[in-house]
Symmetry: C2
Subunit: 184 residues, 2 copies
Amino acid sequence: MADINSKETPARPGEEAIKGCENNLPDPSIIDLIELFFFAYRDFTQDPDVILTEFGFGRAHHRVLHFVNRYPGLRVADLLEILKITKQSLARVLKQLVDKSIIEQHPGKSDRRERRLYVTPEGQKLAIRLMEPQLSRIIQALKSSGIESEQTSRRFLYNMINSVDHEAVLELFSRSRSKRELKG
Amino acid sequence: MADINSKETPARPGEEAIKGCENNLPDPSIIDLIELFFFAYRDFTQDPDVILTEFGFGRAHHRVLHFVNRYPGLRVADLLEILKITKQSLARVLKQLVDKSIIEQHPGKSDRRERRLYVTPEGQKLAIRLMEPQLSRIIQALKSSGIESEQTSRRFLYNMINSVDHEAVLELFSRSRSKRELKG
DNA sequence: TATTTATGTCAGCCATGTTGACTTATTTTA
DNA sequence: TAAAATAAGTCAACATGGCTGACATAAATA
């Protein structure tokens, strides 16, 4: 039944018909991209992980800290949408970050039900330290990948995101950009 | 207490000196890439996850199944190096895949200590079904990102991998076809 | 023969995800 | 103004998939 391409190996994976591929034969080089994406993400998260264990934190703490540092005043609800985890999962790591004075919560000015999230100076220091190796890795990769790689990779990653969330991502980014303008 | 809307925001992340950045001011657009990478991977893994629960499997099973399907005859040691997890972690999911007749183990021909791994026909079917949405997502993203995006994204992802592992990745890829140039 | 290697296995711990039920404070709405 | 909706927190239980450490077995190799 699955003997479309029965050549030498028992399985020539992905060389069978796959929906959504015009010629009905997926380019095996696209399958490479699946694997490259996995390897790249595996290594991308590795450097911060080492630092995090030093502090008794995990990857979940890193995610929270990163986004709060980058978008100060984020609400819990914003974080839930960004991370796509449950309130209870977030609560656990958030509590630990607050207990260790990495993040602070302050009631919203216009809506006092909200808990706006901010990094402490210590939290900022850690966030930057965690960001360092990731930035270095990206900068090095872009340098090695040609002049156009920044714009192209940015577009590629953006288009890999569920289109339902495109708006939210742009909105998020515009949040840091407006802050940038306040500074200049 | 940092007030909610205090304009001199406590954190202007990543705009401090960071090692490995020539002008000592990291381009904030590079920080976007950190987030885009996270969002992209978050959504990339989401489609298979839905299918996996149907089978009582998790993401760990997917990884194992993918690589065994793609590189039939893989040894346990190979898999450990690819996934960078411990033997005990792998053993747990591998056992379940074998028990459910998704993967088969056969002693190596020249070295009978080895357990060469192969997908069963059923395993191949599942592997392909899990690959489908990921391929579709990548193909769609490449189409939306310009003609050069495939080569460029491939190079970018490759260069995001620890250079220590570059050789291993190329070797892996060469296993299913002749090497192509990845180097930027 | 002795050692190394490839793999398996038991036992337990930890991080981080999940669901479900419920509370509290505050804002919005009928 | 009373009722409903919203933002967030909490408790309890459970699942997944990492980890360490110790030890077992079979086969290859020195």
